[in-house]
Symmetry: C2
Subunit: 241 residues, 2 copies
């Protein structure tokens, strides 16, 4: 882990350079971080005995490190004891783009790919701190309200972390883009926005009716965009770092 | 490609067996297909020179084959000329689960992992047919309404396909699940549903005001769940195969 002040952009190498539609590529940390911090779920690619796997998991970012967790039984995590090269990708789908030609059908999206070496967080104090950070990153202040984790629960959970060695973002946000010569064709074209939203809370029926909603969950209102909520909550926990 | 009638379930091997929380695993084709067909975007893991990559892409299923496309310039697709082992994963996030302990925080989700060998669809007629199927799979009947693709457009697009060799689904849908001894703790707990929805169409401003919305897009109503719409449209195109 380098303690040097990071430069504004990730280094661009053959590994993270955006090759297809490269004009959509971005390498600045701010763009990459905003895409990561707006998400709860990432897909992680890793290799075991030459076979690629792609696993979805909840994850979070702290500075230039990414973390996720799983049971000690996980195939992926067992293979990572010695440090495993991974590619962690986050994708937000923002719209469907219906054009006048098949070729110009597209989608608006924001994605980020991060490369690094995943390692298990073994040290119990670091692990406990990471698990609290995970809860609080998604649900501000919540870890302090919960029943304290047992030693058995902490033992049964594996925390994995990686430093972001290289990363890139790829963003399309221009909506419709037909060829000039197609523009007057009488074909219905439209952009359909896509959002991921939360619904109304369904509290546990066993709760006393007067149980207050904690202040940290004030942002969890029905219809709220999940990406905006996750970004806001990340900033509450980590202060925009 | 086998023409035999497939069995109800995918074979279970060391590659596709669900190891972590194995009670959530499913291997029947119906479960796997429903998760795939409800999605537009998959994440594909592949390996080049030992390095894993995880790339998001639009994809679709036809029987036991999956297809996706990209520009001929793509790193991934160039590497696939000889057939590349891939793992294609789809994930639907259905809810956030806030429990009384950190350990029981969870999420409801449906995911599917498919293993196979990706190969480029080279033959021009098969390629053109696949690209029409892609448009029609997402937008029923639309390919017939579009400006015909040029030879140059078809040449510039690469279509990749793979047979599903093995697959598994992993589903959690039980919502809240605290330990029995935690149930009376006065801690606010709730399930927050999560849905991905489309918004109101934003038609091209260059369209004449009387341009009708094609009947195939009748399902694209504001607030519609994208997974339900995609599943419905897949069935319109492929008849529930």
């Amino acid at each position: 882990m380098s303690e040097a002040v990071p430069s504004e952009c990730y280094p661009v190498t053959d590994r993270n350079r955006v090759k297809r539609l490269h004009e959509r590529g971005r390498y600045d940390r701010e763009s990459v971080h905003a895409i990561l911090d707006g998400a709860m779920i990432a897909h992680i690619a890793y290799v075991i005995d030459g076979q690629p796997y792609c696993t979805p998991t909840a994850f979070w970012r702290e500075g230039e490190h990414l973390y996720w967790h799983g049971s000690s039984a996980s195939r992926m995590l067992r293979a990572q004891r010695d440090g495993l090269p991974v590619c962690l990708t986050v994708t937000h789908l923002d719209s469907l783009v219906l054009a006048r030609s098949g070729f110009n059908h597209s989608a608006d999206y924001r994605s980020a790919m991060c490369f690094g070496t995943a390692r298990i967080v073994e040290e119990p104090e670091a692990k406990t701190r990471a698990l609290d950070a995970m809860v609080d990153r998604f649900y501000p202040g919540r870890s302090a309200d919960l029943r304290v984790s047992t030693a058995q629960e902490i033992k049964a959970t594996m925390v994995v972390g990686m430093e972001i060695e290289e990363a890139s973002a790829k963003v399309r946000g221009k909506g419709l883009s037909d060829e000039g010569e197609d523009m007057d064709l009488p074909i219905y074209t439209a952009r359909y926005p896509v959002v991921q939203v939360i619904g109304a809370a369904e509290p546990c029926p066993r709760l006393p009716a007067d149980t207050p909603v904690p202040p940290g969950l004030a942002g969890f209102t029905a219809g709220r965009r999940l990406d905006e909520l996750m970004l806001e909550n990340h900033r509450i926990r980590f202060g925009g770092e």
